[in-house]
Subunit: 337 residues, 4 copies
Amino acid sequence: MIIVLKAQATEQDAKHILNKIEQAGLKPLYMPGVERTVLGALGDERVLQKLHLENLPTVEEVKPILTKYKMVSRDVQAHDSVVRIGNVPVGGNRFTVIAGPCSVESEQQMLSVSEVVAKEGAVAIRGGAFKPRTSPYDFQGLGEEGLKLMSLARDMTGLPIVSEVMETSQVDMMVNYVDCLQIGARNMQNYGLLKAVGETGKPVLLKRGLSATIEELLLAAEYIYDAGNPNIILCERGIRTFETATRNTLDLNAVAVIKQKSHLPVLVDPSHGTGVRELVIPLSRAAAAVGADGIIVESHLNPSEALSDGHQALTGEMFAQLMQELKPFVEAAGRTL
Amino acid sequence: MIIVLKAQATEQDAKHILNKIEQAGLKPLYMPGVERTVLGALGDERVLQKLHLENLPTVEEVKPILTKYKMVSRDVQAHDSVVRIGNVPVGGNRFTVIAGPCSVESEQQMLSVSEVVAKEGAVAIRGGAFKPRTSPYDFQGLGEEGLKLMSLARDMTGLPIVSEVMETSQVDMMVNYVDCLQIGARNMQNYGLLKAVGETGKPVLLKRGLSATIEELLLAAEYIYDAGNPNIILCERGIRTFETATRNTLDLNAVAVIKQKSHLPVLVDPSHGTGVRELVIPLSRAAAAVGADGIIVESHLNPSEALSDGHQALTGEMFAQLMQELKPFVEAAGRTL
Amino acid sequence: MIIVLKAQATEQDAKHILNKIEQAGLKPLYMPGVERTVLGALGDERVLQKLHLENLPTVEEVKPILTKYKMVSRDVQAHDSVVRIGNVPVGGNRFTVIAGPCSVESEQQMLSVSEVVAKEGAVAIRGGAFKPRTSPYDFQGLGEEGLKLMSLARDMTGLPIVSEVMETSQVDMMVNYVDCLQIGARNMQNYGLLKAVGETGKPVLLKRGLSATIEELLLAAEYIYDAGNPNIILCERGIRTFETATRNTLDLNAVAVIKQKSHLPVLVDPSHGTGVRELVIPLSRAAAAVGADGIIVESHLNPSEALSDGHQALTGEMFAQLMQELKPFVEAAGRTL
Amino acid sequence: MIIVLKAQATEQDAKHILNKIEQAGLKPLYMPGVERTVLGALGDERVLQKLHLENLPTVEEVKPILTKYKMVSRDVQAHDSVVRIGNVPVGGNRFTVIAGPCSVESEQQMLSVSEVVAKEGAVAIRGGAFKPRTSPYDFQGLGEEGLKLMSLARDMTGLPIVSEVMETSQVDMMVNYVDCLQIGARNMQNYGLLKAVGETGKPVLLKRGLSATIEELLLAAEYIYDAGNPNIILCERGIRTFETATRNTLDLNAVAVIKQKSHLPVLVDPSHGTGVRELVIPLSRAAAAVGADGIIVESHLNPSEALSDGHQALTGEMFAQLMQELKPFVEAAGRTL
């Protein structure tokens, strides 16, 4: 940790801080300069953070040297993690395609779309039973009834299912139904929920928050890991920027950065990442090319009747086209579909 | 609602949509143009939203004309709402100053800072018992014990207390301790929590999310109102932008916009809005000048020992200076402290 | 154009505006609603914009229906444009790779890196002679001397050269040296410069501004086109967001959007788009997959001695690896390198 | 300067860099740690930047300790600068109000609005003769003819005039007409233009770029200062964010930060900073309260006929109201109008 003192700080001020560092059992360093004095503190930065040196009036800035996350870092585990959703491995040589409707709307809707995406090569089914909606007047999801319909889809297709958990109180009930708990973008920093899913041991699909930095995403994953659950899949789903032509700005830089910093698998959600049906296929291709471990896409056999996000859902035909177009890019990346 | 069709849409496509609009009991309008056909639908836009016209392949764009929120809008109530925290009115002629530490750390810390801010003119005490922290290794708050210490501060000063609720499961317990429930920025779209605090009837201090638009903030308030609780105080606390010199960018435009669009009172949090102790006073002055109904600031008698956010906490002396500097600006705004 | 009136606007106000629309030779439409009156105006929106209806006190909002750009739009030309830099076509079946140093530093540096990238398959050479630098104390480029060194590189490799023009006064001189004029991100809305390069007829590589929307980029291109020059190549080079792990956020959504809206070719600059050498290859792969027409990358045989942007420059070995890794993705996209 | 080495860097790598630092005449520091080795380099950071240590493959990160700007910094000059536009001091005890139309449109328009704003207390007149417009089909300004009309306004009112210079080639002509050269937001990093206005010695009103950091704004000012011109007035005019309810997000944090870091005067432009006429007065009040040295606002006697930005222009009555509302806030800030 590097501590930059204010211009007016005296040698006395510096010594006071160096003593604090030493008393905490760390190695202090004194670097008097022409315009600013700089101090160093070597050792476990988590101990150092508890000194709260940034609060001192003589301190201009504290610059940490190490990241705050540990367990999800490649420094701790060099090889890629593989997380299994049911019997589907995410993170290995296979490029994982998860598909299904934004919201579960009815048995007929859920089963028909599941049949199509399963036939075309999806390896897991997504669907929303509890829906976080910006307006209280929008469709809020079928709740537990929706999970039952998803279970039927699993029985029919043999594929595992993924659904979003919105509250701590839902966790116990949901683990009975789903193979993977999704944490939505709005809940990425809902720490109670992160701890709760961490305690289940179930695979967790953790979506990046709308304005979360990559480091904050990894720290959110660290919460889950710290609660005892290493089965974490990260998901880039677009960030909020000034651009209005797309719903969000899909940040594929983030996928490449995370693959360097963390051993966890990373999916891409091109449906929310663009918000435009016609952009889903090109961005899915790009996700495969940049090194993502898979995609999670929204599909609906009749998007014009969808109760939510119909504008970004692929029809059955488009989903088939997606799988066909993806293939050469997945192979170019040295993986299989 | 205005519906813009794609260039290739036929008259037949237009008629199909016009029929849908009519069947929904609304008035359809047909506007064929040289380059694009535009349709209109007059009536309750909430009915229209359920048609999901944006999902149709022939539709390029759907432009709503009315905002989605109702009850928190000035269209529904022209005069300013006044919300009472304990016996303290927020939203009237008085400029409300709420102050206290970021985190409750100990009885001594809580009582001593409460005594000072009460003496200097704060009308309510803030403090964090449950702390949302980016890293699992940071101090997470004292929990219910912290609420007990806040209650002691209330007993001593006679001032009402405000504290953040992080989870639905905490709501019942917290209403026994606090006079106002705070929803933090990270939970602005935690809809289960919004509904839960909405059912209590307790005053709610709703903070704007890091990347929430003003409309999304008002829709989050609408969730609380819709659950039966009109006692909502909004809070601008800075948004996330590219600027790194400050922790957030305090958006005082938003205060002026909200005062136009909504009847709810609006506070400003200059501590989180800047993240820099030295900027709190000038931005508090600006908050009074722009028309905010008050501020909520962090104060700590010994910021260099604070367990969280010490870098943005005002010392007792600085808090006294804040109150003194605020006075002429509050009076210039036609209010009293 | 759709004109939404304020709630308090009278029928009289509406008629006043409808008259204005009619007098401008356009077709007016009257849509009285329960909560708001909406007006329509059908015809050439450029005429309508001159009415400045948004300025009227009774008008709440004016919503244009058509984009403001014309000549660069697919509505005007459905097929892809191919722009030739020297004898190199950009925008056809070939995936264009342009490479070279950030700054021209010396004859030795320029020629050696040009030799390598030419050998490995680059089809044009980039290099900066005039450098826009954030600080006045940073290296500002060799100026015309740099262009002479680039000409030597062209003579040696037979490849055309691309360099940034920073000012109108440099245009006449630069057209004698370079095969393609680059407009940098900071100058995307330097309208005098856009007009000046528009008058030359030379190919222009127009980079997206740091916080320019896609529509603003297309309008900047429209300036060049409108000045008589259709030889425009667009370039996505990353936008400014809150994320600090990368220098910019490469917006590959934008590539897919532009390919829908415009007939102009689009390159991607993964060097500036990431700012991190190790991320250049994965994002180049993604650029090929999303449908870009090529990439422009920075390369330096000795990046640790580079006078600018060495941290994002590929070494000769890495450039060779880039070309090798790109190949299968370019082929998957149905193109050739 | 602090240099953090990568985890795999050896002692040998560290020594290599320490030698480089020493050879550059600076004091090297060696700080081996458990997880990372950190090096320090003490002395003039501008020399250090030329070493380009960030380019080395063994270096993870280089953290500068000092800002890159010098002459515009409070470290160099502790007291506030006062810049005179004609005989009007900007930056002292007086709160400067500059007003006038967005575009100069006609003699009648220019003179009538100048008369009103002068009568109400504006101390300088603004007006645009050369207009940077997003679309080539929008009104581009009257050019030199507009400057002549502004000169008439100066003759009539006795007030100095401010107008935007868009290109280097306009500088010589414009200095004959105007008392202060404005650099617009889109040109904040047009370095040739910054140098050119720097060489004139005329006062320069430098607007912050749409996505420029505070540090970049100060570095742009440093370009002007470095070219020999200390007469620089900074202007906060809103930054681009995700919020769409306002045209830009006015960043009043930035005013308070700049007042700490720099001795230059700072104005606020609430017209562009909000883009909404009704928000101009509250944000002007806030500008006075936060410590700005004045405001620059758009005014038009007949905004509904304005050729540009009519939606954000104050009418004569609103300008009079602005001056009246400003007064108590300016006085609360210890200044006079």
